[in-house]
Amino acid sequence: MKHKTKVISVLLCLTLVLFVFPLGVLAQEGAEAGDSPIPLEPGYDYTRFKDAGLTLNVYNWGEYISDGTDGEHIDVNAVFEEVTGIKVNYATYETNESLYAKLKSGGAEYDVVIPSDYMIGRLIEEGLLAKLNYENIPNFSMIGQQYKGRDYDPKDEYSVAYTWGYVGIIYNTTMVDKPVDSWGILWDEDYKNDILMFDNSRDAFAIASRLLGLPINPENTEQIDQAAAALEEQRPLVQAYVMDQIFDKMQGGEAALAPYYAGDAVIMNAANPDLSFAVPKEGTNYFVDAMCVPAGSPNQEAAEMYINFMCETAVAMDNSLFIGYSTPQLEAEAAMPPEVRDNPWLYPPAEVLENTWTFNVLPKELNDHMDTAWNDMRTQTGAGGWIIVLGLVLAVAVIVVSFVLRARKKRQNEY
């Protein structure tokens, strides 16, 4: 008995050690700078900070970089550390707004961030981004012309595109017979309770606005109210308002129709071939996530080196394949496996993209109005409200029954 517990304790300690051991091993990787395990563009000196002991703080979306976990693609940060000798401190966020809060509050310092289009516009407006020195980013030349000079950064001074995509309708071909070519199908009574909808205000309002022929970036509060009325009208038909739960619901055939991003449609289609994707004729939202350097970054040149590295063909390709979103780096696009490159959802013909708009920064007044309208709409849903009532009734019933039983038992014992 005694020995047994001792053995167990030792085993436990070993498990703990094993548990923590890979951390140390992984930290050791990348100590040797110089040789690169992947092909790089010639003529760029990646080793100039080799002995400076720099740490680069990178802040990116969650699950938004090739990290080598699938065993097929490279671990981008590890390779960067190996090639340059610069250490990467990598952290992740879930919304543009939380990134904004971090940068605005001064609660953290970063060297590279990857916000979406409208947030880049807002950060530039508020002076939170640094102007880039494109001489340190020669690979910028491989970014396609259509991803440059967009509204959020018209003169290409602050950002280098990382991924892009657009919103469309993902639908299950075994459940939907009608042609899917309009946002109107998300308002179709025939698919009541088979429709999923975005659980974020900006994307949901964009869809309602296009359905009504309104601009994707509302110009006044009336337009927001009109879109809110349409969303209100849609609500009884909606099975659930979701973000990432959409993967499970669509792949499992629990819902028939859902708006989501093109890259994710490809991932869902691979898991369930019944799923298809369509871009509504009313047009849709087009987004670009781009790499920027926050103002005041102490390591701007190293940050630009990181951005240049991300634009290397081999890196951009692996990132794009891992994430599943389209790459703006033309050489990488050309080097993709044909089934990816020729996928019309990922790299659609030009006319599809003609009818798309990027989000712009909304004035505070409109932004607040949209948030209020959205919250009003969402809180009235009452979804799950009956569960709370049911739970309360059950709890009361259990208490009453147990009291009655106890009282009866007590009475029996008295005799």
Binding site: M1, K2, T5, I8, S9, L12, T15, L16, F19, V20, P22, L23, L26, N57, Y59, W61, G62, E63, Y64, D67, G68, T69, D70, G71, D75, N77, A78, N89, Y90, A91, T92, Y93, E94, T95, S105, G106, G107, A108, E109, Y110, M243, D244, F247, D248, K249, Q251, G252, E254, D264, A271, I323, V398, V401, S402, L405, K409
Partner: protein
């Protein structure tokens, strides 16, 4: 008869409510698919990926590090404070204790935001004070937000729990035991370490465990004060835009079994100790 069945049903319901979600999570950690609803087949895929995912592992390492260091320090500081508070007069003691409990009642988000503001102000102040870019002040100004700020916040929100658990135990303790130790030739330090400390040790140990748990669990406060670092809960939360990877199921399953094993071993040892010492009831009762 009826009550017996009711009791059984109640027990089964209660335990399934607690453990079915964990069982499902563990089952899905062996799923060969990425889905959270469809089970595609048995595989160790997510465990393999987990051990290759440097980001998740380093977030875990940071969480564990912060939890252990902050729990040790909070327990130490909290125990010393309890001993001091215990010696106070009645009014000042209750005032001090009540003030210390306020952070527990305070919504976490307020604690988080106010701590962040404090650190930002402190950082800017330090940077202003430091005359050059080198030196201790400049280093602190540069590195305050991150591990140091996380540690300070975690110690801060852990402290009240230590006071909460250790103070009552101290007050319960018979003061005559301590006096007897003095009478029998201990000096004050010896009396504290040989008599008082063993008496309150169980409370200190539970306080330490509670601190560990709260520290590993904490999301809201860390979210604001982590600077450019990330703890495990923050890393998991950031995955929600794309998809929370099933690696997290695998990691949670491992954590569950490690904790289960620790609890089992702790219980076994306690039982053995109790029999061996022939002391089933705590002394002094």
């Amino acid at each position: 008869m009826g009550t017996k069945v009711m009791k059984r049903v109640y027990l089964v319901l209660l335990f399934s409510f607690l453990y079915v979600p964990i069982a499902i999570m563990i089952a899905f950690s062996f799923n060969s698919e990425k889905s959270r609803t469809i089970f595609g087949g048995f595989s160790f895929r997510w465990y393999e990926q987990l051990f290759r995912d440097e980001m998740v592992l380093s977030a875990l390492a940071l969480s564990v590090f912060i939890a252990i260091v902050s729990a040790v320090l909070a327990t130490l500081i909290g125990t010393m404070a309890s001993v001091g508070i215990n010696r106070m007069g009645r009014i000042s003691r209750s005032v001090t204790l009540n003030i210390s409990y306020i952070p527990i009642l305070n919504p976490e988000i307020i604690t988080g935001v106010s701590m962040m503001l404090l650190f930002v102000v402190a950082k800017n102040g330090l940077a202003g004070l430091a005359e050059s870019d080198v030196g201790a002040l400049a280093w602190l100004a540069k590195n305050l937000l991150g591990i140091p700020s996380l540690l300070i916040t975690h110690i801060t929100f852990n402290l009240p729990y230590v006071l909460f658990m250790v103070s009552p135990k101290l007050r319960q303790m018979d003061i005559r035991l301590y006096e007897a130790a003095l009478d029998l030739g201990c000096n004050e330090r010896q009396a504290f370490f040989k008599v008082v400390l063993p008496e309150i040790m169980p409370a200190i140990f539970s306080a330490f465990l509670i601190c560990l748990t709260y520290s590993i669990d904490d999301f809201t406060i860390s979210y604001f004060t982590a600077g450019n670092r990330q703890t495990l809960p923050i890393a998991i939360y950031a995955m929600t835009r794309r998809r929370v990877s099933p690696e997290i199921n695998a990691l949670s399953a491992i954590i569950f079994f490690v904790i289960l094993a620790i609890i089992l071993v702790a219980n076994l040892r306690e039982r053995r100790g109790a029999y061996k010492g022939g002391r089933i009831l705590p002394a002094g009762k």
